[in-house]
Amino acid sequence: MKVEEIKVPLRDVRRTVKEFYNENEWHFITVNAVDLGGKVELKWFFTRYGEDEYFRVVVAQASYDEEIPTLTYLIPSAWISEWELADLFGLNVEGAKTGLFLEPDSPRAPLRRG
């Protein structure tokens, strides 16, 4: 398996993705968060159509309150993964609404640790 990891500051995520992302070539899988306590590590996963076991992963860290830039300008389907981050981690994602995955009486940000 080939994994190409690109670590960038949060403010550069959109620019970094814009530089390589072309919808004819790349498939956006999802964005994932891992709670590090007070901050999260975010990973945007991409793969190339037709390529065997290949991932390109854009990595950034964000504090709980920092605004996470949306990628929906570049990838229209990204909103659903971003809204999930807003619901399940209580993160502040640009343009994201809460309540898509959790009901109003659910615990808030259930995937934060501790």
Partner: protein, 361 residues
């Protein structure tokens, strides 16, 4: 100005007995905007996997994410952990996993095709499809002990070997299943009324499929050549005769035909696996604790299923992330509805074979 009506679809709807809600704004029965809500039954399975269960138990927990594609979830998880821990799975176990995975695809695809026939008003075809699906489920029960939610794969191999008697029965009954599925394929492909009802309805173009990162049969029906069985080597698909099924219409008709052809290919792969089943162990002992991260893509019946696993030498994992195919296809469904006649909505929704059990995992 036309007649404006708000039409709710779900959270419980006759066409789809799972809790998803679309709210359609319509004007003269054409849809002008859509809102979606999938959060009725969020079960917190990811949270449970990283707080309550040991990494050796998580495979059994994720098998309960979905009844229809439980083997795909288990395979996604165990493959991620095996790669993280450097476990070499015996070849016989990989073949057995493939047999269960493909029989699971057969019964799941037949379910989706049957439901689409039902919403087209073809009750008899629905019942006939479900009747034939029973054969696949009986074979799965014979092999794994359960009709659904079979805890077959485990870290290091599989939990149950195939006896010669069961292998013989499987080979005999697969012939019967293949004949029936070929008949079903012919009906879905050639029936005049079904073509009238489904051709050109709910069209996802290849451009849309790429733009919205569509996965699974809806992507392949739109001409997008993507299938994790070809792009990720988690099971020996290539050596057992995997064929990528792609069509170009992108409509309900082609989505069903992709499934119909995949059913035939899956049966052929199972036959090939039974014919060339290697001898040897079905499980290896696994020692140690997972340290680091791993991610895999597997092809569930509904499309690409992504698992991310992170551990730090503890019995309980730091993170288990499940990105299911229905979740990935919701954005294109939302886009597709705008401009469509409301009358075409139930058939279009069902043709995506959505699974809310997976989405609200």
């Amino acid at each position: 100005m036309g007649k404006r009506i708000t039409v709710p679809f779900g959270s419980q709807h006759v066409a789809l007995p799972e809790p998803i809600k679309f709210v359609f704004q319509t004007e003269n029965e054409k849809i002008t905007s859509v809102e979606v809500d999938v959060g009725y039954v969020h079960r917190g399975i990811e949270k449970a996997c990283q707080t309550k269960f040991k990494y050796t138990q998580v495979g059994y927990v994720v098998a309960r994410v979905c009844g229809l594609c439980s083997i795909s979830h288990t395979l996604g998880y165990v493959t991620a952990v095996e790669r993280l821990m450097g476990v070499e799975v015996p070849k016989r176990a990989l073949y057995l996993r493939l047999i269960v995975s493909e029989l699971d695809r057969v019964h799941s695809h037949l379910l989706a095709m049957g439901h689409t026939a039902e919403v087209a008003g073809y009750e008899n075809l629905f019942m006939q499809t479900f009747r034939y699906r029973e054969t696949a489920m009986e074979l799965l029960e014979l092999l794994t002990g359960n009709r659904v939610q079979y805890d077959y794969a485990t870290i290091g191999g599989v939990n149950r070997d195939l006896t010669p008697d069961v292998a013989k029965t499987l080979k005999e009954r697969l012939k019967e299943l293949k004949e029936r599925c070929l008949w079903i394929k012919d009906v879905f492909e050639n029936d005049f009324t079904l073509k009238l009802r489904w051709k050109g309805v709910g069209v996802v173009t290849k451009e849309m499929a790429k733009r919205f990162n569509v996965v699974g049969p809806p992507a392949r029906a739109a001409g997008l050549e993507t299938d994790c069985r070809a792009e990720f080597n988690y099971l020996p698909f290539k050596e057992l005769g995997f064929k990528l099924v792609v069509r170009n219409g992108g409509d309900i008709y082609d989505r069903n035909l992709v499934r119909a052809y995949e059913v035939i290919n899956s049966i052929e792969m199972v036959e090939n696996a039974l014919e060339g089943l290697p001898e040897g162990d079905v499980k290896v002992a696994v020692k140690g604790l997972p340290d680091g991260e791993s991610f895999v893509r597997v092809e569930a019946p509904r499309g690409e299923l992504f698992y991310y696993v992170k551990g730090s030498k503890k019995m309980v994992l730091d993170r288990v992330r499940i990105r299911v195919p229905t979740f990935a296809n919701i954005p294109v469904m939302k886009e597709l509805f705008v401009g469509m006649d409301y009358a075409d909505v139930p058939a279009t929704v069902i043709s995506f074979d959505p699974c809310l059990s997976c989405t609200a995992r």
